[in-house]
C-alpha cells in the first residue's frame, strides 16, 4: 500500500490538482471524440469536472475515503443514463479509462516526474483504482441495459395487443409478428376481457400480420374461439394469406365450424350482416 504523502497529499493528487486544466482538457477531448454529438460539450465538461473533483479527493484519501463511495454512485448514474441513451459499453467506460491516458501522457511529458519511483508506484495504484471504476461502469451499464430491454419487451407485449372496437358490439384484434405462447396468451386474455367490458357479441381476429401459423398458434386461436363462445360471443378469423392457408391445410389443422374470411373487410361485412346492420351506399335519392 502506498502511504499518503506528508501533508495527507499523494503525489498523484498533487499532480492532478496542479495540472487540473491540462489533464481535464485532454480527458474531455478524448471522451468527446467517442460520444460526439450525443452529449453536448458543456454537459460533458460539467460531468467530467465533477468526476475529476471526486477523483482528486479519492487520490488524496485513498479507497477508504468517502470520495470512493460518491464516485461509485456518480459513475453508476452516468452508466445508467448512457445505457438509456443507447451508448455502447465501451463508449461508456471510456469516460473513466480516458483519464488514465490523459494522466499518463502528462507524466511522460514531465521527465522529472517520470524518474520518480514513488510517483510511478502511485500511478500504478491509481490506475488500478481507475480500472476498478471502469469495470464498475461496465457492470452498471450491463444491468441497466438489461432493465431497458426487459422494459421494452414488456411494453412491446402490451403495445402489440390492441383490441379495437370496430362497431357497436364488434371488436377486433390484429395479430402481428411472431406469436409465442406468452404473447398469444396476453392477446387472448385482453380480447376476452374486452368482450366482457364492451358487451360485444362479435370478435374479429385478424392474422394478416402473422408470419406463420403452427399447431401452437392454431391451438391458442381455437381455445380463444371456444372461450368466446362460452361467453356468448362469435369469433371470425380473418387475414389468412395464401401461404398460411397452404400451411394450415398441410399441417392438418381443422378450423371446423369457425368462420374464416380472407380480409378484415370481408370479416367486418360478415359480422355487420350477422348483427343486422345494413349498409346502404350513399345514393342521392
Amino acid at each position: 500500500m502506498t502511504q499518503p504523502g506528508s501533508a495527507g497529499q499523494t503525489r498523484i493528487a498533487q499532480l492532478l490538482t496542479e495540472h487540473r486544466d491540462d489533464v481535464l482538457g485532454r480527458w474531455v477531448a478524448a471522451v468527446a471524440g467517442t460520444v460526439r454529438g450525443r452529449i453536448t460539450e458543456r454537459e460533458l465538461r460539467h460531468e467530467s469536472e465533477e468526476l475529476y473533483g471526486l477523483l482528486v479527493r479519492q487520490a488524496a484519501d485513498g479507497p477508504a475515503g468517502t470520495a470512493a463511495d460518491e464516485l461509485r454512485s456518480m459513475l453508476a448514474d452516468l452508466s445508467r443514463s448512457r445505457a438509456r441513451q443507447g451508448f455502447t459499453p465501451s463508449e461508456t467506460a471510456v469516460s473513466v479509462f480516458a483519464l488514465k491516458q490523459a494522466l499518463f501522457s502528462l507524466l511522460e511529458e514531465k521527465a522529472d516526474v517520470d524518474a520518480d519511483a514513488k510517483t510511478y508506484r502511485e500511478f500504478v495504484l491509481f490506475s488500478s483504482v481507475l480500472d476498478d471504476l471502469g469495470l464498475h461502469t461496465f457492470e452498471t451499464f450491463a444491468a441497466a441495459r438489461e432493465q431497458v430491454i426487459a422494459d421494452q419487451a414488456e411494453s412491446l407485449l402490451e403495445l402489440s395487443t390492441p383490441v379495437v372496437k370496430l362497431w357497436d358490439g364488434i371488436v377486433a384484434v390484429p395479430l402481428i409478428g411472431t406469436l409465442d405462447s406468452a404473447r398469444t396468451q396476453v392477446v387472448m386474455e385482453s380480447l376476452l376481457q374486452t368482450l366482457v367490458d364492451t358487451g360485444s357479441r362479435y370478435a374479429v381476429i385478424d392474422i394478416t400480420g402473422v408470419a406463420a401459423v403452427d399447431t401452437e398458434v392454431a391451438q391458442h386461436l381455437l381455445k380463444t374461439v371456444v372461450a368466446a363462445r362460452l361467453m356468448g360471443a362469435e369469433c371470425v378469423i380473418s387475414g389468412i394469406r395464401p401461404q398460411i392457408a397452404h400451411t394450415i391445410v398441410t399441417l392438418g389443422i381443422e378450423f371446423a365450424d369457425i368462420v374464416t374470411k380472407a380480409t378484415l373487410a370481408d370479416a367486418l361485412a360478415h359480422v355487420l350482416r350477422q348483427s343486422g346492420v345494413q349498409i346502404i351506399s350513399g345514393g342521392q335519392a
Binding site: 403452427d214 391451438q219 401461404q243 398460411i244 397452404h246 400451411t247 398441410t250 399441417l251 392438418g252 389443422i253
Partner: protein, 136 residues
C-alpha cells in the same frame, strides 16, 4: 454439401424456438424458396423445435443451406436432443396422437411440409430429426 452459413442454435427456451424459426426463414430466403415453401419450412421448423424443447428436454438445431448434385438449392435443419427418445415411432407419427396437450399434428404435419424427413430415435438416448426443403 453444406456451406459456411450454417447456424447452430441451442434450444432451451421458447425464445430459442423463435430464433430457429427466424434462422430458417433467413436460410429459406437465401435459397430463394417461394413464399409458400418458405412458410412451410418455417412452420415445420417451429413444430420440431418445440418438440425438441417440450419432449426432448432441450437440444439444438443446425440450420444450413444445401445444394444437391444437380445444383438445386435448399434448406436443411437438423434437430437433436438427448431426451427420452420416442418409444413408438408409428404412434408418434399418427395424426392427432399426442402424449401431452398438443393437437398431435406437429410431427406428421412437419413431415408433410418438407421434401425429406428423417427420424432417428433411441429410447433413453435421444432423437435426431433431419428435414430438407428444396427450391422448386
Amino acid at each position: 454439401m453444406t456451406t459456411s452459413d450454417d447456424v447452430e442454435i441451442p434450444i432451451a427456451t421458447g425464445d430459442d424456438v423463435v430464433r430457429v424459426r427466424q434462422a430458417t426463414r433467413t436460410a429459406a430466403g437465401a435459397a430463394r424458396l417461394s413464399l409458400v415453401d418458405q412458410t412451410k419450412v418455417v412452420t415445420a421448423a417451429s413444430e420440431l423445435a418445440r418438440n425438441t424443447l417440450v419432449y426432448g428436454g432441450g437440444g439444438e438445431a443446425l440450420v444450413s443451406q444445401v445444394t444437391d448434385e444437380r445444383g438445386r438449392a435448399g434448406v436443411r435443419i437438423v434437430f437433436r436432443d438427448e431426451g427420452p427418445g420416442i418409444a413408438d415411432v408409428d404412434l408418434a407419427l399418427t395424426d392427432g396422437w399426442t402424449s401431452g396437450q398438443g393437437l398431435g399434428l406437429g410431427l406428421t404435419g412437419a413431415r408433410r411440409l418438407v421434401d425429406a424427413f428423417d427420424l432417428e430415435t433411441a429410447v433413453g438416448q435421444g432423437t435426431t430429426i433431419t428435414v430438407t426443403k428444396w427450391r422448386r
